[in-house]
Subunit: 345 residues, 2 copies
């Protein structure tokens, strides 16, 4: 992408403001961990891998803020900030994962001077960010094998450079398939209510000059039935040990249509998205977001004020509907529980 999702400069994290894309390309600058938490909860930045790296930088900013305190107090305050950051969004495991990595670094270096801990944390955040891009590229390299030449690929939500530190998960595979000359065409679901497909995926596809068509979410069913889709690629917010996958609302319906019509359905996610502590999808907490996301678009009300709204951000796709999980370590195929367990070390 021409625009970076995030960049840390001069003591602050610059995040492309995804709430305003594609109309405006502006940056949100977070100079303390509270700004970072807000950026995550308010979805300035979104996408499981992206909020992981953002959370890591947030931990560093908290450490910076408290660096003049006595050591004990410093350690206590930074850990409290970590808990605050981790609670910004509940479903994506990557946020907890990244912050746990940072907490681990703090514990490891707790005996050292604060100055050194700061350095370790900054390097840790930079490494998580850099690794994310590397991991995405590895996933893309594995994933491109499941995309037939000239394929019509359908994707949901935004899983691109904007959802990660760079490149993308499902959209990274699409990017790679395009770059390697496979001559693909992409159908992008608009992804109500927050329209990440219309706003962000379409933005990335246009920037990369990938042949693409935007559709209302409910158009996908007919395209899948009519074999106008050869493969579906989606991301994940959390994959349970058995392969059940929590991802953006609408993913489950797509997976069921694919199952009925024998269309391959792949989840593209780094192994850090697999939560081995969670046995099945039934144990994944599904975030419910504000009714305003459904009731308002661009600040204008589209429905009567008095109507109740149910607005779950995610749904759970059962492992049986998942053809494979494309990770940086290879593709896990059925039985997913067994094949995913091989990546747990």
């Amino acid at each position: 992408m021409k625009h970076e999702t995030m960049e840390f400069t001069d003591g602050g994290l610059n995040l492309i403001d995804q709430r305003k894309l594609p109309g405006e390309v502006t940056y949100f600058r977070a100079t303390d961990y509270r700004d970072v938490r807000l950026a995550i909860s308010d979805m300035v930045v979104r996408g499981a891998p992206a909020i992981g790296a953002t959370g890591a930088y947030g931990t560093y900013l908290a450490a910076l803020e408290y660096s003049s305190r006595p050591k004990d107090e410093f350690l206590q305050l930074v850990k409290e900030a970590c808990d605050q950051l981790a609670s910004a969004r509940p479903t994506a495991v990557n946020l907890t994962w990244a912050i746990d990595q940072m907490k681990g670094l703090i514990d490891e270096h707790a005996d050292q001077p604060i100055e050194e801990i700061l350095e370790v944390l900054f390097d840790g955040a930079e490494e998580i960010a850099a690794e994310d891009v590397e991991i995405n590229k590895e996933m893309a390299r594995h994933g491109v094998e499941v995309v037939p030449r000239g394929a019509n690929v359908l994707t949901h939500c935004n899983t691109g450079a904007l959802a990660t530190v760079g490149y993308g998960t499902a959209l990274g595979v699409i990017r790679e398939a395009h770059k390697t000359g496979k001559g693909i065409h992409v159908y992008a679901d608009e992804t109500r209510p927050r329209l990440q497909g219309a706003r962000l995926t379409a933005f990335e596809l246009v920037e990369e000059e990938i042949s693409a068509t935007l559709i209302a979410d409910s158009v996908a069913a007919t395209l899948i039935r009519d074999k106008k889709v050869d493969v579906v690629l989606v991301g994940a917010d959390r994959v349970a040990a058995n392969g059940d996958t929590a991802n953006k609302i609408g993913t489950y319906g797509l997976s069921e249509l694919c199952a009925v019509h024998d269309v391959p359905f792949y989840v593209v996610a780094p192994t850090s998205t697999v939560d081995y502590s969670v046995e099945s999808g039934a144990d994944i907490e599904i975030e419910e977001r504000s009714p305003e996301e459904v009731l308002m678009i661009n600040g204008k009300r589209i429905a009567p004020e008095e109507i109740d709204v149910y607005n779950p951000a995610f749904d759970v796709t059962p492992a049986k509907n998942v053809t494979g999980v494309i990770t940086e370590r290879g593709i896990a195929r059925s039985p997913l529980k067994e094949s995913l367990s091989r990546f747990n070390d």
Copy 2:
């Protein structure tokens, strides 16, 4: 409804302006047939049964306008106005049907004084409007039997009083179930891209004080899987002789989820919506509408200008996914071809 879709008073037709709902409840007053034509083509009024009755009143207004002319001239001018009205929306069969009824009345009474023809036309329009409400109530009476006590009912698009002269088709059944004290709860799909569910169905449900929840279209799949929906009720734009049903985009996907999870899926439509000249859904032409419906909401762009859009207005649900077609003459059940043919006389 507290607000009538249409009401003829003091020489003019008052139409609730559906372009402005639910933000503004205003009326569009048509005092000549040109206004009526504009109201139909610009979608002040929409829904096949509603535009049929509107067209009938338009014919009466044309007759009123030309009533001081010599008889021959009067007859000629009114028929020309009829042709104008019928072309306002070429695909809606109910509009042509209603205007043909009015033309028939003119032919029948051509020998009588203009004053009497006017009276006949006014009564004719009133009868078409009244009959539409009666047919809806008959459908509701039959349909209510398939709605269990305390059921969660899911519906798509707007099929209510606003889409008809009053009461509604699928939403008419819902209204009846509520009125008869079944203690139902409704899930209303917002229905992208034109948001008829969010704008119009939600408006009607709030007005009628029916317990209801608005959802993004892609939420329905999970609700159906989790048995939080007991029955799905939708309308129809055209039903083929074999029971294949063209309806608002998104209907097919719902039907497939219902088939997978054994949830009853009913189409509610008058027998006039069954097109016996069309053998199956494969022969139904699917209207593709403007990309702007997907790209813009409330006059604001939500996606990059350069992205291609595919925007079919309807999809086709195969007869095998339809539990029954609820008509004013009873419920046609599988095999639909046979049971629907009994209503063809």
